[in-house]
């Protein structure tokens, strides 16, 4: 019993840090509807600032604590600055463009930290006066943990007062529950949004600063915390700060108790199983309220229909693709194959996100399972390579059907987070099932059959799969099925009212998108010669989203264009600088500001084809 109490106590300390970072995320999302990937970067930045200031400030034992205050204040200001300079410019773009922008910030801040502090791990400062431990229930508990355990609830109380007892806080809450109404009542939104960012970033900064005595500092601490913070927000209820508290406590304690009882295989996936369970039972989170029905298209600008490039462009492009391997060096051929794989991966996501309005954060699951499907058939199934190549999309499609069954019951952010949970569950299975998948060592020797092995030949296979797949997707987008998906995206209620079964349309879209992503995965597997759990990772899912956002979310052509731009940029930049993240991030930042609807969105709207057109 005492063992369990102690376990809960140690889980609570982590829960307080999680609460701080998640409440900021939740606040920012609630008010501005921005999914702020850069939140983890602010957390990391504050930790490094605390480390440097703590040893630099000439304040004796107070130095460390003063550094925490100053560092979180700096990060709060930076958050405000980011809102004013960048995010404010994209609120009118399709909502996901904020996501692309914050992703660019993640890259830039990550490299800035590497540049100023180096990439070696640093152990945090000791907290003067709180270094020791106190005996509690027969064990020693670090004094500093107890301090964190008091700061957490104190901040929660302070936030409650701010949100419920000040006019500004009441406006914030009003904006969180109905932005348009607050605007209609004549409240200026700009200061509210900036304020939410300042407070939200301060909370991230405080979490980072408080971690310094507890956790070592690394260049990847942003990525390590951000997904967990999202999970807390979703479990507690998007936009609900107290939900974040509940979610954090639940997660922290469960993780800590899991150490006692859970078998090894479940540790990777515990948080995501919890999130999936909450989402299935209460899609709006434990303390969240059901989202208001999505704004119907009354005031929305009509989204463009399918777009067919001019015939001459198709002809020239097609010819170029056909003769490319004869003209360009071998390595460029390999890069083109990778672009084709990603174009297919992104194109399938475009069907979901662009045409269907179903934002998936876990699309890499199907790309990765496609790769594994092909690899497993080749390695364990004794199937010839061409057949294994086609087997990939089958496994991916089956997985999409199974996961999709649960996901399509939800819409909006809960849908996105459930797809993320499903992807993480798939990732954990692949990562832990050593006997079949080879675990994290992956499966090796997944090379094309000898007659397809030369770069040019494999390129033609990839071209057939990639271009053929994209044309099919184009066809599907323009088919009655695709048009119904679009209708359901813009007018879900009216669609239901005229008898369209929206859910089965969504499920079918999920299945189709999964299978095409799997085909992309097959192309990728034989290009790389091996498959690894990384292919199903969050960062792959994010990369696919970035690709279609860069290319333009509402046009299928955005997928290949985005894949081309992203991959060429990434490849060239990585070859020339150690700071590829910063360069890539800056380019993405400029791209979002210059083309707030993606490159193809910029090229496209005036050339709209009437009546939906045929692919």
């Amino acid at each position: 019993m005492i063992a369990i109490l102690l376990q809960i106590l140690s889980g609570l300390t982590h829960a307080m840090i999680l609460f701080l970072i998640a409440s900021g995320l939740s606040l920012i999302f609630g008010v501005t509807r921005t999914i702020n990937f850069a939140h983890g970067s602010f957390y990391m930045l504050a930790a490094y600032l605390t480390l440097s200031l703590g040893s630099a400030l000439p304040l004796g034992w107070l130095g460390v604590y003063a550094a925490m205050v100053v560092a979180s204040a700096i990060v709060a200001l930076l958050g405000g600055l980011v809102e004013v300079c960048f995010l404010r410019r994209v609120y009118r773009s399709p909502e996901l463009y904020q996501l692309l922008l914050t992703f660019a910030l993640v890259l830039v801040i990550g490299d800035a930290v590497k540049f100023f502090w180096g990439s070696e791990h640093r152990i945090g400062l000791r907290p003067p006066g709180l270094e020791g431990s106190v005996p509690l229930l027969g064990q020693l508990v670090p004094t500093y943990d107890l301090a964190v355990l008091t700061v957490g609830p104190a901040v929660a109380l302070g936030l409650w007062c701010l949100l419920h007892r000040t006019r500004w806080g009441i406006l914030l809450r009003a904006a969180a529950s109905d932005r348009e109404m607050v605007a209609a009542l004549g409240v200026s939104q700009a200061p509210l949004f900036t304020g939410a960012f300042v407070v939200g970033s301060w909370l991230a900064g405080l979490a980072g600063a408080l971690q310094v005595p507890r956790q070592p500092l690394t260049n990847v601490m942003d990525a390590a915390i951000i997904v967990e913070a999202f999970v807390v927000v979703v479990i507690g209820g998007m936009g609900n700060v107290f939900g974040a508290f509940l979610g954090a406590v639940l997660l922290g304690v469960l993780q800590s108790l899991g150490i006692l009882w859970l078998p090894r295989e479940f540790h990777l996936v515990l948080v995501f199983l919890l999130m999936a369970a909450v989402l299935i039972l209460r899609p709006w989170g434990l303390l969240g309220r059901p989202a208001p029905p999505p704004a119907e298209a009354g005031g929305m600008e009509p989204t463009p229909g399918p777009f067919t490039p001019p015939r001459w462009a198709m002809a020239v492009g097609g010819l170029a693709l056909l003769v490319a391997p004869l003209l360009i060096p071998t390595f460029a051929v390999w890069v083109l194959v990778e672009i084709l794989a990603f174009a297919l991966f992104a194109g399938s996501l475009q069907l979901l996100v662009g045409t269907g309005g179903m934002i998936s954060f876990g699309h890499a699951a199907y790309f990765g399972l496609g790769a594994y499907g092909a690899a497993l058939l080749l390695k364990h199934g004794g199937v010839a390579m061409p057949a294994a190549f086609l087997g990939g999309p089958v496994l991916a499609g089956l997985a999409a059907l199974a996961f999709g069954y649960f996901c399509v019951r939800l819409r909006g952010i809960p849908f996105a987070m459930l797809t993320l949970a499903c992807a993480q569950i798939a990732y954990a299975v692949v990562h832990q099932w050593y006997d079949v998948t080879g675990g994290d060592n992956g499966l090796l020797g997944i090379w094309p059959a000898p007659f397809l092995a030369p770069a040019a030949r494999y390129y033609y296979l990839a071209l057939t799969a990639g271009a053929g797949g994209l044309l099919l997707l184009q066809r599907i987008t323009g088919s009655p099925f695709g048009l119904t998906l679009r209708a359901a995206r813009d007018q879900a209620l009216r669609c239901e009212a005229i008898g369209v079964d929206v859910r089965s349309h969504h499920l079918l879209a999920f299945l189709v998108a999964g299978a095409f992503a799997g085909l992309g995965g097959s192309v990728f597997a034989f290009l790389k010669g091996s498959v690894f759990p990384e292919y199903l990772s969050v960062s792959m899912s994010v990369e696919s989203l970035v690709t279609i956002l860069l290319g333009g979310i509402h046009r299928l052509a955005g997928a290949p264009v985005g894949a081309l731009l992203f991959k060429v940029l990434d490849t060239v930049v990585t070859l020339h600088t150690e700071y590829w993240q910063a360069v890539l991030g800056l380019v993405l930042l400029l791209a979002v500001l210059a083309f707030p609807k993606g490159v193809m969105g910029f090229l496209g709207p005036r050339r709209r084809v009437r009546g939906g057109g045929r692919g």
């Binding site: 063992a3 102690l6 140690s10 889980g11 300390t13 982590h14 590497k114 990439s119 070696e120 791990h121 640093r122 152990i123 945090g124 020791g132 064990q139 020693l140 670090p142 507890r214 070592p216 690394t218 260049n219 990847v220 390590a224 800590s256 150490i259 090894r264 540790h267 462009a313 492009g317 170029a320 490319a324 060096p329 460029a332 390999w334 890069v335 083109l336 672009i339 990562h431 675990g439 994290d440 060592n441 992956g442 090796l444 020797g445 090379w447 990728f524 290009l527 790389k528 010669g529 091996s530 690894f532 990384e534 292919y535 290949p560 264009v561 081309l564 731009l565 060429v568 490849t571 590829w580």
Partner: protein
């Protein structure tokens, strides 16, 4: 959209066309490593040592009368990215061989590429046993002692201890699993009455140490085997120190005596921990000269990664000299029969599995207030020959993997 493709391919061909070479073609070595991502904290000293080895070789007139060039590529911690670099290095840059890698999965991916394309690959740091055993082949060689060797060295020392109740904590992936399994199997062979009272497998690079240390304290092991590393180890060490776990339990740590893991902890490092590591400060000549050169060049002392980088490139250079050629097949043959002179004495790459006989140092930790860090004392250098399995065992592992 196709037009964009066309423009893209033109751009791509411009960007990737290698410059034309004149006479005296340099020897080019493609080096792929994790210069960003999860392992970035360990690869800088490695790279500095490689650069030192290359400058030395070029200062002495190059190899076979040719200049040596190393092309560094960042795999970002991703095997897929590493394969892209391998394709670029081999197809565009026409490198003579590939070297490097830190993470096991990246090493395995590059090794499989080397097998497919018949390119020589000298793996530097990845510790996975699969690289030279179950997935081993003609074209891959590996320098560092793997998890099997290091686990076995520790087990042989640990078997002399009186402790019977053991627990372990390690990262939940292949490295952690194998580091423990080989140690535990050998320990049970030598001391059959040991028992396991707790095992913990936190997710790599995400350790939240409080709960694990609490659980370990409640399980009351007499001895604890730790295969955590990087930030996980630092987090765990501080928490275990705060909560008194190190005082209650004898600790064994694989790799944890390396300065990479001891130095960041300063004087917080646990004392009396049985470790494998790299006591650069007390290894006698000719190693002294290496330390002096490295310190003079970089302004800091070498770490284990630096030694491995230097030995890796020494091996490559000596193989090129012995083969008098950069032809892959001749280099493989040369490496198989070569005795490489290194700062820590001669090593060989065993011809049947291509695992080098570089060993490791086993000792215990002691805080050294004068330096402000913990160091290894009472150490012994265990050469690879003493712990590596025989040829028949390697054959069995390779057969089983087929």
């Amino acid at each position: 959209m196709r037009a964009m493709f066309f423009v893209g391919s033109v751009l791509a061909s411009l960007a990737f066309t290698p410059p034309a070479w004149g006479q005296g073609v340099p020897i080019r070595i493609g080096e792929i490593n994790s210069y960003s991502g999860i392992a970035a904290g360990f690869t800088q000293p490695y790279r500095q040592a490689v650069e030192m080895a290359v400058d030395e070789a070029n200062g002495a007139g190059g190899l076979l009368g040719r200049k040596v060039e190393v092309l560094f590529r960042d795999d970002k911690g991703s095997p897929a990215e590493a394969i892209k670099h391998a394709q670029e290095l081999v197809a565009s840059e026409k490198v003579n061989l590939l070297a490097g890698t830190y993470l096991s999965n990246v090493g395995l991916a590059v090794s499989d590429f080397a097998k497919m394309h018949k390119v020589l690959f000298v793996a530097a740091e990845p510790l996975s046993e699969a690289i030279t055993w179950s997935q081993g082949h003609r074209y891959t060689f590996r320098v560092r002692p793997n998890t099997h060797s290091q686990g076995r060295m520790l087990a042989e020392r640990a078997a002399r201890l009186p402790h019977r109740r053991w627990a372990t904590i390690g990262p939940n992936y292949e490295y952690g699993r194998r580091a423990w399994e080989t140690f535990w199997a050998r320990l049970r062979e030598l001391k059959p009455d040991v028992q396991l009272v707790g095992e913990h497998w936190p997710t790599l690079a995400k350790l939240e140490p409080g709960g694990y240390v609490t659980a370990l304290l409640n399980q009351r092991p007499e001895a604890l085997y730790v295969s955590l590393f990087g930030s996980d180890w630092l987090a765990f060490a501080r928490e275990a120190g705060n909560r008194g776990l190190f005082r209650q339990t004898f600790t064994v740590g694989i790799l944890l005596g390396e300065p990479e893991y001891l130095d960041p902890l300063k004087l917080e490092a646990p004392e009396g921990m049985l470790v494998t590591g790299y006591p650069w400060y007390s290894i006698p000549a000719p190693h002294r000269a290496f330390v002096d050169k490295f310190t003079k060049r970089t302004g800091r002392h070498p770490v284990a990664g630096a030694l491995v980088g230097y030995v890796t490139f020494q091996s490559i250079f000596q193989a090129i000299r012995a083969a008098q050629s950069t032809d892959t097949e001749q280099l493989v043959t040369a490496l198989e029969s070569l005795t490489v002179e290194t700062p820590i004495g001669p090593i060989v790459f065993r011809p049947f599995d291509h695992q080098s006989t570089m060993g490791a140092w086993v000792g215990t930790t002691k805080r050294d207030p004068a330096r402000g860090v913990a160091i290894m004392v009472d150490w012994e250098y265990v050469p690879g020959e003493r712990v590596l399995p025989a040829e028949s065992e390697v054959r069995r592992l390779r057969e089983a993997a087929k």
